[in-house]
Amino acid sequence: MSNQNAASAPLPRRTWRKPPFIANPAIRWGIIILSIVYIVWALATLPFDWVRIQEGLPRAARIFSSAFPPDLKRPGLVLDGLMETLRIAILATILGVGASIPIAFMAASNLAPRPIYLLGRGIIIVARSFHPVIVAIVFVKAVGFGPLAGILTLAIYSIGFVAKMLAERIEEIDWGQVEALRAAGAGYFITLIYAVLPQIMPRQIGLTIYQFDSNLRASAVVGIVGAGGIGATLMNAFRRYDYDFALAITLIIIAAILVSEAISGRIRRKIW
């Protein structure tokens, strides 16, 4: 075959170039030039106050230098905050994952009738469309400062991720198992429990652990806008210009997240 090709080609070609990503040169250059023009225009029109930035730099340096060395002045406060964060993360995970399971079934196109499917997907899209900080601000307004706002925020955040991933797993199930139970005259819901739930169980457990991890991280962030936990402790330290304490808290948060990721990563590897 290769001999034949060589024979039919009059001259062996010796140059080769990777074909361009966008074949049409007009479109290719158009996109490049437009991007450059846009970036220049965006930088030129955004109000950067260079004088203010110059003044601010030494101030930033002062804050950082006053944060060193980090000082764990009130360990009791940090421990309380950390424990509250942990409770928020655990409760939010239970609540969020618990709600995710039925929503995932609703949002699986192979199981749910069309209107239910659309409703399920709609819930997931709404839950995913806002960053947890924005949701937290709304809940802090609605139910007041403190852990309840954090729990509700992270529960919604959990639904957005867990329900979506779980629905996708449900759509990949081995349909033969469902068919076998339908052929045996089993009802719809008992078929879900017997034929679908066992198939998605490993993914379900893995997602729950991952989401707990994720909630722990996010609960430190939403705490900053008033939703309780260690984030609130951190924010209070900042407000009191207690920068060395703030840095200590930050380091503790990082340590806590590292520990939880190490543990959950190990468990997930065992299951998956």
Partner: protein
């Protein structure tokens, strides 16, 4: 007694996968259905328990017309029709016992089934049947830990748990090695006698069909073109069933089956 009259199945607007098919199976007989891929064997079996909706015609099982049933009446009828699958279709991650008991899901109330609290007589029956086919010692093993032959036995027991009036086996031995495959065929034959059940077996292996069944039905293009004793299936009849399927027609028929499997 299973009586199928004028059964038609079309997928979409395509050519009919089953056209005007008549078949009568009296009680207590083992019937093999042979035919090339795409002949409509699978569709025929699936029409009987309505995993596939027939387009027209009637299917009567012991006097009940299955084609008209809806909702709980349909589930009630399905309980009486056991099905055995080529790929076993066991719940891999559940135990053998749970798989066997899942044959009772049409009878047991939701909460009892969900909590695995099955009635004593179901558990007795499960152990009895598992003993009968030689898998009782696997009761608490996960189904995916078993070998192919053992898994198909679980499939058979699950179907028998339904107290079926008929067994449908869709290529029950196609995923098994020759020896286990013969064991499963032998098991189906002896169970058919023991429980006085009609058994319909879709099968590719004509040798096994001849050896283990009393009647052979040959299908081609959705029609029955042979129906007789295994001894009547000579080379001529085999040719009619299998030979010279034009590629274009074959593709059409297979496309229909694939579309049906996806539904």
């Amino acid at each position: 007694m299973l009586r199928i009259t004028n059964l038609v199945k079309c997928y979409g607007n395509d050519k009919a996968v089953l056209s005007d098919l008549d078949l009568e199976v009296p009680g207590e007989s083992c019937v093999a259905i042979i035919g090339a891929s795409g002949a409509g064997k699978s569709t025929l079996l699936r029409c009987i328990n309505r995993l596939v909706e027939p387009t027209s015609g009637s299917i009567e099982l012991n006097g009940v017309n299955l084609t008209q049933l809806r909702g709980s009446a349909l589930r009630g009828a399905r309980r009486r029709i056991g099905m055995i699958f080529q790929s076993f279709n066991l719940i891999d991650r559940l135990t053998v016992m749970e798989n066997v008991l899942s044959g009772r899901l049409g009878y047991v109330p939701f909460w009892r089934a969900a909590a695995r609290r099955f009635p004593q007589q179901d558990i007795d029956r499960a152990f009895h049947l598992m003993e009968r086919v030689g898998i009782a010692h696997y009761a608490n093993k996960r189904a995916d830990e078993l070998s192919g032959g053992e898994r198909q036995r679980v499939g058979v027991v699950r179907a028998l748990m339904q107290e079926p009036e008929i067994l449908l086996a869709d290529e029950p031995t196609a995923s098994l090695d020759p020896k286990t495959s013969m064991q499963i065929m032998e098991l189906l034959r002896s169970l058919s006698e023991e429980y006085r059940l009609p058994v319909l077996i879709n099968i590719h292996n004509v040798q096994e069909a001849k050896e283990y069944t009393q009647r052979i039905v040959g299908m081609r293009f959705g029609r029955i073109i042979f129906d007789g004793l295994p001894s009547d299936l000579d080379a001529d009849a085999m040719d009619k069933v299998y030979a010279g399927v034009p590629a274009a027609e074959r593709q059409g028929a297979e496309g229909g089956i694939a579309a049906g499997a996806a539904v």
